[in-house]
């Protein structure tokens, strides 16, 4: 296959959004390559067991059907265990230092196959991705890409969050669903959001003793969201099912409380559970501790936008939850022609919304490749557009019901590790502001090394941004940590080596 065959689409991410984009585009005639870091397609939500005998988790019928169709589709191929570490358009300078100039033509002089009558002729000629897989480096070039990289668990820092045994809720779920491994025999699930119920129910069914679900939000917020709840009866049924599972296993759900500290205790961990007010400040009284093997923590999700940022796509702040997201139109088209974005990277909204936005981005990609005309695009996109609107309303209601207010900053001690990679503490951040007048992320990174380790600020970036804003009194752009030329750390050899074109 030549690198730039017309009608070729590369999809990054094999989760619900990526699979939906791949199927929609392939149905329209595109030849699709789906790349993913995981061993099997599915992403986090549709995670497939890697170990024989681990029962596959239940998913929505739409999601199951989608996975089956994607795996069987003759125009879709999967590239598993491949990490994208660099992305650029033809208009991107070789060092990736500057975003593509608007209106820049194809650098190579050849006409861009994707720039047909629907694609906009001033577009860059193609998108190049450099990947690292088990057999070495790979380079993919295509006239259009759909980025569906998903997101990762957001965890606000607290004393002890770096101890072994404190894991993200997503990690606990991934290990149980994918490998039948429990992070501990006796566990606590803590943080905020409905995902905690999903994880706790899954762990209980898999044989863990879940001491409690500790949910910071009070229940009564739901009473203020009647319209969104009534509009999504399926979601209510799902939540009720998880709650019923938890009741069956005797797992209490403690609301208006937070795990504010974890300390080592012999072979296990001791978690401090405190009552908190609506702003997550300790509300006095009701402090208790629990001795467990593992604490599974989640405070919502952070969208993965770094690939899009590397390609020069415009970003914005999602007003629903304050997350930095990629700015796209209703069909997932970013500010860079040929770069479509779907799923959590365009706004955290769960698997069903990811499927809708993925389908739309796949159709828009097919349109850009000249496989659908304007009328066909409008016709085929209509159902997913309608679904997406309702799903977005529900997602916004969830974000209102499960906010992440700033009160967690009061749980920190000066010696609490903030940047796990570089072992920089909350006290060091505040000291940098006080002593050196640091008031932006760039200076913060240089002075303290926060966000300069291998995770590149993915884990601590949002917390550091929030603390910096509070300490300096200056608002900080939320995407400040997402701007990276190398979007994932790779061995130096991979940077030097030309990837095999595929």
């Amino acid at each position: 296959m030549t690198g730039r065959a017309a009608g070729r689409l590369v999809v990054v991410g094999a989760g619900p959004a990526g699979l939906a984009a791949a199927v929609a585009a392939a149905d329209a005639g595109a030849t699709v390559t789906v790349v993913d870091l995981g061993q099997r397609p599915g992403g986090q939500y549709l995670r497939q067991p890697l170990v024989a005998g681990v029962p596959p988790a239940r998913h929505s019928r739409r999601a199951e059907t989608l996975l089956g169709r994607a795996l069987a589709h003759r125009r879709i191929t999967f590239l598993a265990r491949h990490q994208v570490w660099w992305a650029g358009t033809d208009a991107t300078p070789a060092d990736g230092a500057a975003p593509p100039a608007p209106g820049a033509g194809p650098a190579g002089g050849a006409p861009a196959p994707g720039a047909g009558p629907h694609g906009g002729t001033s577009a860059p000629g193609g998108v190049t991705l450099r990947l690292l897989g088990p057999a070495g480096p790979v380079t993919l070039t295509a006239p259009a890409v759909v980025l569906a990289p998903g997101g990762y668990d957001r965890v606000v820092p607290f004393p002890g969050w770096d101890l072994p045994g404190v894991v993200t809720a997503g990690a606990a779920q991934a290990l149980a669903k994918g490998q039948g491994v429990l992070v501990g025999r006796r566990v606590l699930v803590a943080g905020t959001g409905p995902f905690l119920l999903t994880v706790a129910a899954g762990l209980a069914r898999a044989g863990a003793r879940v001491a409690a679900v500790v949910e910071a939000a009070p229940l009564r917020r739901w009473a203020r969201q009647p319209r969104a709840v009534v509009g999504a009866p399926g979601k209510l049924v799902e939540a009720a099912r998880y709650l019923a599972t938890l009741r069956r296993y005797g797992v209490p759900v403690r609301r208006g409380r937070a795990v504010t500290e974890v300390t080592p205790d012999g072979d296990g961990l001791r978690a401090t559970i405190r009552r908190v007010d609506a702003g997550w400040r300790p509300a006095g009284g009701g402090t208790r501790t629990a001795r467990v093997d593992a604490v599974c923590v989640g405070h919502g999700f952070t969208p993965s936008i770094e690939l899009a940022v590397a390609l020069g796509c415009a970003t914005r702040v999602d007003p629903a939850d304050g997350s930095p997201v990629v700015a796209v139109d209703g069909l997932g088209r970013s500010s860079v022609p040929g770069v479509l974005v779907a799923g959590e990277a365009t706004g955290v909204g769960g698997a069903e919304l990811a499927i809708s936005t993925g389908e739309l981005a796949g159709l828009a990609a097919a349109h850009r490749l000249g496989l659908l005309d304007d009328a066909a695009l409008a016709r085929t996109a209509a159902p997913a557009l309608r679904r997406a609107a309702g799903q977005r309303r529900f997602a916004a209601a969830l974000h209102r019901a499960y906010p992440v207010p700033d009160g967690w900053t009061g749980w920190l001690r000066p010696e609490t590790v903030l940047c796990r990679c570089e072992e920089v503490t909350a006290g060091e951040l505040r000291g940098a502001v006080r002593r050196y007048g640091v008031d932006d992320v760039r200076a913060l990174k240089l002075v303290t090394r926060i966000g300069m380790g291998p995770c590149q600020g993915r884990v601590c970036g949002r917390a550091a941004t929030c603390l910096l804003a509070a300490a300096s009194g200056r608002d900080q752009p939320p995407e400040a940590f997402a701007n990276r030329q190398i979007v994932m750390p790779v061995p130096l050899g991979a940077v030097a080596e030309e990837g095999t074109p595929q």
Binding site: A14, G53, A171
Partner: protein, 98 residues
């Protein structure tokens, strides 16, 4: 992306972790095998020598680094365990310690 081949893959095997045998169910990652064996610490940090283990579980946080078959800095949560693997708890960046 073929699923693990249940027909030829061994149902179970062992890997060596810090000189001790650790059982693996075919298909598990290094992190999965370590946690199933009750081993939560995969490394000690560069500056504070603080213990760390699996955190994000999906290859993002780089906390579950181990030295895998002599290669330091391998994400245990992504690396499939293979028969005969040698895994060492990593100290710092994985330099040889005297």
């Amino acid at each position: 992306m073929p699923p693990p081949d249940a027909g030829t893959a061994p149902a179970g095997f062992t890997i060596t972790v810090d000189g001790e045998p650790v059982p693996v169910r075919a298909g598990q990652t290094v992190a999965g095998a370590l946690l199933a064996a009750g081993r939560r610490t995969t490394r000690f940090t560069r500056f504070g020598e603080r213990p760390r283990g699996v955190f994000c579980g999906i290859g993002v946080c780089f906390d579950c680094l181990v030295t895998h078959n002599g290669v330091p800095g391998v994400r245990a949560c992504l690396e499939p365990a293979a028969p005969g693997d040698t895994v060492r708890t990593q100290h710092g960046a994985g330099e040889v310690r005297t």
